[in-house]
């Protein structure tokens, strides 16, 4: 657990970067610091590994004050991932990753073996290890950056906008893999980003900071979307909050209707006989593959004929996916499957909405009911 206690950072010019920051980043979870530029989120992060020293206040890791540890030794025990990866251009990928184990005194060969293992873990197997950083794409460099931070297996990781310099498709891929990795490794992570969607996706807990280095609100993603504490947080969290909050709501048992299906290769005559309302679901060994309109086909069903607009939701997934399946389906019947992708049945949008109305929303924390006036909890 990382604890900030009344941490203040005032730079030499007199500018306050972080103002009376107090919060805890729980062990094994991802705490995201998010806010506009100039809110002190990176300064806060760098005070944890003493790249920046606080003006006053205390930061501790597992109840040990970071000020009491030699700075270089402290840093070797904390993984750090920087924007643009910040790889050493003069070291091969494997040696970049082996950096911290070698600093910790591991023999070179052993450190390299470990480095290759970690590279495999982040999806860069085999000959990637022997390349130079300049020979990798931005996304690959970022993976190496993550591997370098993980190489010495530190319990704590600090990540400073690690995915913001890559294109959106690669970013999403890196985020998904990062979450998968975190489920396996369970590190205590403090993650800095200016992107609220990234914060909502990755954070177990989100600290929204405002310009001037003040903590505006600290909450889990569902709570933040449901109950932003003031106009600043509401504005920062953005529009579609109600809909986006469904991402964090588990789908309850939906009233599923049985859906007749036909396999690929079905003739137009058979298909017309099987349909009830003009649309027919095609499944391959129980897995839904798409919708067809039997009226409009003249040959046996093949993949190229299938309507691909409808999304598929897992029964155990978030409500947002179930609602989207219903909204996007050409037959207006949302396709629901089990975790293996086997069809369970279909559901209509009004049924999903009824389920949404029946679910509990996060209860408002007593402490968040602000008194009269514009002050919020963190300002008091």
């Amino acid at each position: 657990m990382i604890r900030f206690e009344q941490v203040v950072k005032i730079y030499a010019g007199g500018q306050t970067a972080v103002d009376d920051l107090t919060f805890e980043a729980p062990t094994g979870q991802i705490t995201v610091l998010v806010g506009p530029s100039g809110c002190g989120k990176t300064t806060s992060l760098r005070m944890i590994n003493r790249m920046i020293e606080p003006t006053s206040g205390h930061i501790s890791i597992d109840d040990e004050d970071v000020q009491s540890v030699n700075a270089a030794r402290l840093r070797r025990g904390i993984g750090y991932v920087i924007q643009n990866a910040g790889l050493f251009p003069n070291k091969r990928v494997v040696d970049n990753v082996a950096t911290v184990p070698i600093l910790l005194g591991a023999p070179r060969s052993q450190a390299r073996t470990r480095a290759r293992e970690v590279l495999e873990l982040v999806g860069l197997p085999g000959d990637f290890a022997d390349r130079w950083p300049s020979q990798l794409s931005g996304g690959q460099q970022q993976r190496v950056g993550v591997a370098r931070a993980l190489a010495a297996d530190p319990p704590v990781m600090l990540m400073d906008e690690p995915f913001s310099a890559v294109d959106p498709v690669v970013r999403e891929q890196l985020q998904d893999e990062f979450l998968r990795l975190q489920r396996e490794l369970g590190k205590t992570i403090v993650f800095v980003t200016h992107d609220i969607d990234e914060a909502l996706k990755l954070g177990d807990q989100i600290a929204v900071m405002r310009v001037g280095g003040k903590l505006a609100q600290l909450a889990d993603p569902a709570y933040l979307l449901a109950h932003p504490i003031d106009d600043f947080v509401a504005g920062f969290v953005g529009r579609d909050r109600g809909y986006r909050a469904l991402t964090f709501a588990q789908t309850p048992a939906l009233p599923l209707a049985a859906e007749p299906t036909v396999p690929l290769g079905t003739t137009p005559q058979e298909a017309r006989a099987a349909t009830r309302d003009g649309w027919l679901l095609v499944a391959d060994h129980g897995r839904p593959v798409g919708w067809v309109e039997p009226e409009h086909i003249t040959a046996a069903i093949e993949p190229a004929m299938l309507h691909r607009g409808g999304t598929v939701a897992r029964a155990t997934g978030p409500l947002r996916a179930a609602l989207d399946a219903a909204l996007s389906s050409p037959s207006r019947r949302g396709v629901i499957t089990d975790d293996d992708g086997i069809l369970l049945g279909t559901v209509r949008a009004h049924q999903v909405l009824e389920a949404i109305e029946a679910t509990d929303r996060p209860e408002v924390d007593e402490a968040d009911i602000a008194p009269a006036g514009p002050t919020s909890r963190a300002d008091r």
Partner: protein
Amino acid sequence: MLSFIHGHWSDILSRAIDHAWLAGLPLLLGLAISLPLGWLARRASWLRVILVGGSSLLYTIPSLALFVLMPIVVKTTITDPVNVIIAMTIYTVALLVRTVADALGAVSDETRQAAIAMGYTPIRRFFGVELPLAVPVISAGLRVAAVSNVAIVSVAALLGIRQLGFYLTDGYQLNYWAEVWTGIVACLVLALIFDVLIQAITRVITPWQRAVAS
């Protein structure tokens, strides 16, 4: 000129070797001194003013004056080659301190921050990250210093120290132009050898510079 070269081949070669020592050894000594000074110059702006400004000033001292003054300072005889070695080292430092400081300054801040965050101590960071990345720029400065040294060393002929400059003074006095030309060409060839050697070494120790994106 060819007949002069033919007739004096072994003399030319031995003078060239002497000349190479007088120009080359100070290059190594000067580099060894400039690295810590250049590193120090990066630590604080007032240090930079003193070290870079001061060392650059050294280059303005006329070489002949330095050769003549050296025996008084280090208690050697006027014809001792050590005078030349020390004087040339001073010139090398004069050229390289700024280069080293600039080369270290050109290492990207991102890389430096990453090294700090990984837990490098300042000394290990210097040798493990900053110095290797500064090599290409330092090497460029070293090439200038090498050529400059080869040229300045020939002035020491006026003091009777054995090297290639002798052909210039001797040939001039005898009005024997083949000898003068031999001295010039020999100096050129020597400077070229230094230049190629420095480039080759740089190439070998900076393999990442040749890496092509795949």
